[in-house]
Symmetry: C2
Subunit: 125 residues, 2 copies
DNA sequence: GTACTATTGGCAATCATATGTCATTAGCAG
DNA sequence: CTGCTAATGACATATGATTGCCAATAGTAC
């Protein structure tokens, strides 16, 4: 079961790496199909799952939306996300207000937090 | 087309009002069926949609989860949500770190924001 | 170049959520 | 109490995301 280095896998990996923002499965497909004509959604799902298992990418959950995916190394730096209400794209934003612990009720244990900013991106504003 | 005051509608409304936290459709059903045996999911969906149209309740979107619903009046006060990673329930938390505008990239326009705290509730901690 | 088999991609199938259908039930006005 | 019909609930169907299947394709080791 030796791994093989296919053009599809390279294209999908490149697309996620180059995006600089979390991509949905359809977005990955649309971008990668430019590189590899005939690329199918089925393959995108498979390669994305493999990258997830490898820990190369991480899922980004957005309220009311299917998961997006971004490079694990990009996710190492604490950051949050901006969701454009018009084009539906998700962007990384840096910084964090902090002080989440103040909001936690007594007896509750905080593990992590997610902030989603909603609005319009520079292209849609 | 005169509205009728049915036991099902009363039970569903009461359950959402009494919960003090956002409830999912299955949660509403499980709680309201105690009041009205035989209550069906189909009816919960219908009544919830009607309450949404009336503006009596509002949807609460949690990353990677189906919508929850809470009283509109409860949502008037700015607040956020705590999602228990064990029991999967969602709770309201008060307060807000503020300063979201600092995170918005140039050219982007901020409309709203959502914060989801993840961790363990007092019963699961 | 050959052989072996991991990988691909089209299609069907699955899974969870949500809605349409319609005969039956039960508010409400009189 | 009676009649009208809004509302209910079991069932079938729709919808969207994801996976199973399998014959065809294409990396790789030799």
């Amino acid at each position: 079961m030796t791994r093989r280095n296919t053009s599809q896998q390279r294209a999908i990996g490149d697309v996620i790496k180059a995006a600089g923002r979390p991509l949905s499965i359809p977005e990955i497909n649309e971008l990668a199909v430019e590189e590899v004509p005939g690329l199918g959604l089925r393959t995108v799902y498979r390669v994305v799952n493999r990258l997830l298992e490898d820990g190369a990418i991480v899922p980004v959950a957005v309220p009311g939306q299917p998961d997006r995916y971004e490079m694990a190394e990009a996710a190492e730096r604490h950051h949050h996300h901006f969701h454009c209400l018009n084009c539906d794209r998700v962007f990384d934003v840096h910084g964090c207000p902090g002080r989440m612990d103040r909001m936690v009720p007594d007896g509750f244990v905080l593990d992590s937090h997610e902030i989603t900013l909603n609005g319009w991106c520079d292209q849609c504003a």
